[in-house]
């Protein structure tokens, strides 16, 4: 558990980075500090491992004041991941990851063995361990950065905009990876970002900070989106907050319908009468694309005759995915699949909206009419 007790940071030139701020980060959860630049989020994070000392107030780690520990010793027990990964250019990937175990006095062999296990854990092939940071992509470097922070198995992980410098697709992969890792490891993670989407996706609790170092709201993400505390939070969480909130709405009430399907390799004789859109599956029943109404097939059905499908909704995942699947599908029918990507059925945007309507609290909708 990390506890900020009325911490305040004022620099010598008079600028105040953090105002009397109190915040508790529960153990074993991901807590995100989010806000525009100059809101003091990084300052707050760096107070935990004493990279920055507060002007007043105290930071407690599992009940003990961090000032009671000698900085280097304190930091070795806390994982630290930064924006550009900060890998050591002169060391191989494996030796980068082995750094902290070596600082703890482990032998080279033991530290390297450990490093190799960790690379695997963050989803990197083991042969990458012999390469140098300059030979890796940005996303790979970040994974190594995470592996390095985890190498000594610290209970607390500080992450300072770790995924901001990579492109959106890679970033999403890294976020999913972090959630998966967190599911296995259950660390106490303090994560800093300026990206509200990232905050909402990763955080079990999100602290929104306002310029000048004020805490604007501290709440679980669904509450942040549903009930922003003030105008600042409202504008910061953005216009799409209604849509984004769907990420937290359960889709179990959604009943998938059916649609005509054919398989790749089928001939025109197998294709049903072409009244509407037909979904095309591969031999493992995974969706490949759509055939438009009235389409004619010459010989066997091949991939290049298809219209690309939209996003897929995994059954049981939040409603956002279902709505997106429907909206992005050329037929207007969102394809629902199971965890293995096997076709289950289709849903429409209307069905999603109906679930939302029926789920609304009666008092709220009545109140709106009064």
């Amino acid at each position: 558990m990390i506890e900020f007790r009325s911490v305040r940071k004022q620099y010598d030139d008079g600028t105040v980075a953090v105002q009397e701020l109190s915040l508790t980060v529960p153990a074993g959860t991901v807590t995100v500090l989010v806000g525009p630049s100059g809101c003091g989020k990084t300052t707050l994070l760096r107070m935990v491992n004493r990279m920055i000392e507060p002007s007043s107030g105290a930071v407690l780690l599992d009940g003990g004041d961090v000032r009671d520990s000698e900085p280097a010793r304190l930091r070795r027990g806390i994982g630290y991941v930064i924006q550009q990964a900060g890998l050591f250019p002169h060391r191989t990937v494996r030796d980068n990851v082995a750094t902290v175990p070596r600082l703890f006095g482990h032998g080279r062999r033991e530290a390297r063995r450990r490093a190799e296990g960790l690379l695997e854990r963050v989803g990197l092939p083991s042969e990458i361990g012999k390469r140098y940071p300059a030979q890796l992509s940005g996303g790979q470097q970040q994974r190594v950065g995470v592996a390095r922070a985890l190498a000594a198995d610290p209970p607390v992980l500080l992450m300072d905009e770790p995924f901001s410098a990579v492109d959106p697709v890679v970033r999403e992969g890294l976020q999913d990876e972090l959630l998966r890792l967190q599911g296995e490891l259950g660390k106490t993670v303090l994560f800093v970002t300026h990206d509200i989407d990232e905050a909402v996706k990763l955080g079990e609790n999100v602290a929104v900070l306002r310029q000048g170092g004020y805490l604007a709201q501290y709440a679980p993400p669904e509450q942040l989106l549903a009930e922003p505390a003030d105008d600042f939070v409202t504008s910061f969480v953005g216009r799409d907050r209604g849509y984004r909130r769907l990420s937290f709405v359960d889709s179990s009430g959604l009943r998938a319908g059916s649609v005509d399907t054919v398989r790749i390799g089928d001939t025109s004789a197998d294709v049903p009468s072409q009244a509407g859109w037909v979904l095309v599956l591969d031999t493992h029943d995974r969706p490949r694309g759509w055939l438009p109404p009235e389409a004619t097939i010459h010989g066997q059905l091949t991939e290049d005759q298809l219209i690309a499908g939209g996003s897929l909704h995994t059954g049981g995942a939040p409603l956002r995915g279902a709505l997106d699947a429907a909206l992005s599908s050329p037929s207007g029918l969102g394809v629902v699949v199971d965890e293995d990507g096997v076709y289950l059925g289709v849903v429409t945007a209307r069905q999603v909206l109906e679930i939302l309507e029926s789920g609304r609290h009666p008092a709220v909708s009545e109140g709106a009419f009064r």
């Binding site: 990279m51 900085p71 902290v100």
Partner: protein, 232 residues
Amino acid sequence: MISEIAAWLLDPAHWTGGEGVLRQSWLHLLYCVFAVCAAAVIAIPLGLYIGHTGRGSVLVVAFGNAVRALPTLGLVTGLAMLYQGSAALAALVVLAFPAVLSGTYAGVNAVPADAVDAARGMGMSSAQRLWQVELPNALPLLMGGVRNAMLQVMATTAIAAYVGLGGLGKLLIEGQAIRHYDQMASAAILIALLAVLVDLVLAGLTRLLVPRGVMLVVAETGAGPRGRREQR
């Protein structure tokens, strides 16, 4: 003229003996290596300290420029007159100093800030940061400074022959005194050749010392010693 130089260089009598090319080349080399090593012994630790702590970086620039502005010949003769001929060696050390110092300082300064931040954040002590992160990554620019210093000292040692220091400069000056232009030209060529050879050796040493991972960064960004030197 070319045939005269060739004839001078090919005459075995010019190569051997106390005043011969071999002995003078050896002396020349010895002075230069001594001067650069002596300078490095002080300049590298000082440069590391300034780069690591950030204290006194103004000193590096001011000192570097001051020494660069000194008239080389004046410094050499001045010291030689005040003390003895061998005091010219001290002048060579002074000349080598700023190049090594600024190379070392620039090297530490050029170490990626995020790597240093990460080192601090993962719990390295100040000394561990310096030895394990800053020094290995500073090596390309540090060695660039040493090579700069060596070239400068190579050239200046030739002038130091004016005050009685041996070396290939001695052959050059003698040649001028007795108007043996073939000897002068030959000595000049030999000095240049020696300088190139020594620089090649230092380039090889750089390859050996600089970690492979750092070489890769240098190759990728062109931020090696040469790249930096051109920017100045």
